[in-house]
């Protein structure tokens, strides 16, 4: 699967309160949550983001709360992929589970600026910066996670297993 979009760039430790503040946690609808995505860290994000765009950040992206509302609202805002040097572990799991593509790649983060256009091939982990004419290689996914992603997320994966068992 190939993804393509422009970059929104952030620094280290973007926490879940920055991605979706707790004052919106009584909302369960992803589209409605997306109206407040990144509100406290980047008030213009929602107006600027276009379908397919890519968030690039440095370390520990998504730290803090376990709220699945965070990857859900990023995905519903139209973001196709998040690339970071590292992710907080709950955010990492949540993203894989709900089908938000995420990649760990130090070089791509270093070699990318806000507004650059990126093309990402998920299975191979190749990240091409079309603006700068450079290609980077992300850490490959473990086979098990690729299986989860091919199944369409954890619910579909578990549903199939449960179906087999019964």
């Amino acid at each position: 699967m190939s993804l393509r979009g422009h970059v929104h760039k952030y620094g280290a430790n973007v926490d879940t309160d920055a991605i979706i503040p707790a004052r919106y946690l009584n909302i369960n609808d992803a589209e409605e949550l997306a109206q407040h995505c990144m509100e406290d860290i980047d008030a213009e994000f929602v107006g600027r983001v276009r379908t397919g765009d890519i968030i690039v950040a440095t370390t520990n992206f998504g730290c803090g709360s376990s709220r699945e509302h965070a990857p859900l609202c990023i995905k519903a805002a139209g973001v196709s992929c998040v690339i970071a040097k590292s992710f907080a572990r709950i955010f990492y799991r949540n993203s894989i589970n709900i089908g938000l593509s995420i990649l760990e790649c130090d070089e791509a983060v270093e070699g990318t600026e806000a507004g650059d256009e990126l093309e990402v091939e998920l299975e191979s982990g190749a990240v091409r910066n079309l603006t700068k004419g450079k290609t980077f290689q992300a850490k490959p996914y473990p086979e098990f996670m690729l299986e989860l992603m091919r199944a369409g997320g954890l619910v579909e994966y578990t549903r199939r297993l449960a179906g087999k068992a019964s």
């Binding site: 430790n13 926490d15 309160d17 920055a18 503040p21 707790a22 004052r23 946690l25 009584n26 909302i27 369960n28 406290d40 860290i41 370390t59 520990n60 730290c63 803090g64 709360s65 376990s66 709220r67 699945e68 509302h69 990857p71 859900l72 590292s86 907080a88 572990r89 709950i90 799991r93 949540n94 589970n97 709900i98 473990p142 098990f144 997320g153 954890l154 619910v155 578990t158 549903r159 297993l161 449960a162 179906g163």
Partner: protein, 420 residues
């Protein structure tokens, strides 16, 4: 090869003699929890699985905790959706008036025990690590699948060992130890890792101070914050356990990614300045800024020992005229006991607002939201920008004695500044 505490518990829960860091395993879980914020999403995903019943209703809990009593119609709808599902499933459920902050209630009622693997749709599920329980936070979808199947996939984490030595000072407790540790290693210092806490300094702490330490493992990026049960732990567990439990210990030749030693004999109360838990400084070096609010409560520091400590500082004194001091006992049991001991009266006489149990203020949910430019000294666990309200409000994390002293002084202050 020797195994760490985390490795031993995970091996036992996936039917293996041995596991190593980095391995992906499918793991049996002993208990699954969620709350009024995360359960609605989890239940929605559960319904997509084509499974009728949770794997074991006595091992699946739904705890109203975050926005209780319901703060608005939307929260009330969420709470109702959760309650109806929980009751239909016959799952563990506590209604308001019996409920509490999830991570205080569940151990106190003996649902989560030494040797368990517990997953919860809340990042502070790691609190139960203080009991020697492999407990970790996940999102709603993971929890939905665990509720259905009774198992979960995990990557076996590498373990970092933290050894704490030396006696603790008068006003120093679990909060100060963990803030000092996070200040040392950073908010991603234990990313993807198990934290294993050891040392004679921990033995000095009651079970409540230990919960405080394990509770904030996630603030260093940790997957779990584990302790080996001792006499204090087992006394607590025996009085409330609802089923069998098992004590695991790490092997003497366990392989740690890193071992960090701390001498705590000179440790002061610690304060994490805005806007990261890792901005930890000794109280003597913290600026004496004027404050607008104090919050004493949360899954970090809203237990009985915390309220006793805060009351000791505030007894016979008055909250500064400019300051709101909001005290929230972290469960109904804590509330009732604090009432019987006269602690709530002490707080009320001093001019504190004493509220019924909720997570509300900690996450800027409600019952103590900050306005632009306001400053709060809080006994909770996070101080990211906007955590407790407006994005340009400030949160100073501290222990309950420092919080109480600050309420009296009207500025960040230590207990000795107001009690001498």
């Amino acid at each position: 090869m020797g195994m760490t505490l985390a490795e031993k518990m995970l091996a036992a829960h996936c039917g293996r003699d041995e596991v190593s860091p980095g391995e992906l395993i499918n793991c049996r879980v002993d208990f699954v929890m969620s709350n009024d914020v995360t359960a609605p999403l989890a239940i929605r995903e559960f319904r997509k699985l084509g499974v009728e019943r949770v794997f074991d209703p006595q091992r699946v809990a739904f705890i109203p905790s975050h926005f209780i009593p319901n703060k608005d119609i939307q929260s009330a709808e969420n709470a109702k959706y959760m309650r109806e599902f929980a009751l239909a499933q016959g799952a563990v459920y506590y209604e308001q008036g019996r409920a509490g902050v999830d991570h205080v209630l569940l151990p106190d009622h003996g649902w989560v025990l030494p040797g368990d693997v517990v997953v919860g749709a809340d990042s502070h599920t790691c609190t139960y690590g203080a009991l020697g329980c492999f407990a970790t936070g996940m999102g709603s979808t993971d929890i939905a699948c665990a509720m259905a199947t009774g198992d979960i996939w995990m990557r076996v984490p590498p373990t970092i060992k933290f050894a704490y030595h030396g006696g603790l000072g008068r006003w120093v407790g679990g909060k100060d130890i963990i803030l000092h540790t996070i200040g040392d290693i950073g908010v991603d210092g234990a990313l993807y890792c198990a934290m294993e806490f050891h040392g004679e300094a921990l033995g000095e702490l009651g079970i409540e101070g230990r919960f405080t330490i394990s509770n904030m493992a996630v603030e260093a990026g940790g997957k779990v914050g584990l302790m080996v049960p001792d006499g204090t732990t087992l006394e607590y567990v025996r009085a409330r356990a609802r089923r069998e439990w098992k004590v695991y210990e790490p092997d003497p030749d366990a392989q740690y990614q890193e071992v960090r030693e701390y001498d705590l004999s000179t440790l002061e109360p610690m304060v994490s300045l805005p806007s990261s838990p890792a901005n930890a400084v000794p109280l003597s070096k913290a600026p004496r800024v004027e404050i607008d609010q104090v919050f004493i409560g949360s899954c970090t520091n809203g237990r009985l020992a915390d309220l006793r400590l805060a009351a000791e500082v505030i007894r016979g004194r008055k909250v500064h005229e400019r300051v709101r001091c909001i005290v929230v006992p972290a469960s109904h049991d804590v509330y009732l006991q604090a009432l019987k001991e006269g602690l709530l009266e002490t707080f009320a006489e001093a001019g504190c607002a004493v509220c019924t149990t909720t997570c509300g203020p900690c996450l800027g949910g409600y019952m103590g939201v900050l306005a632009e430019g306001e400053r709060c000294v809080s006994t909770s666990n996070r101080n990211f920008p906007g955590r407790m309200g407006h994005v340009r409000s400030e949160v100073y994390l501290a222990n309950p004695a420092v919080a109480a002293a600050s309420a009296v002084a009207g500025r960040l202050a230590g207990p000795e500044e107001v009690t001498r």
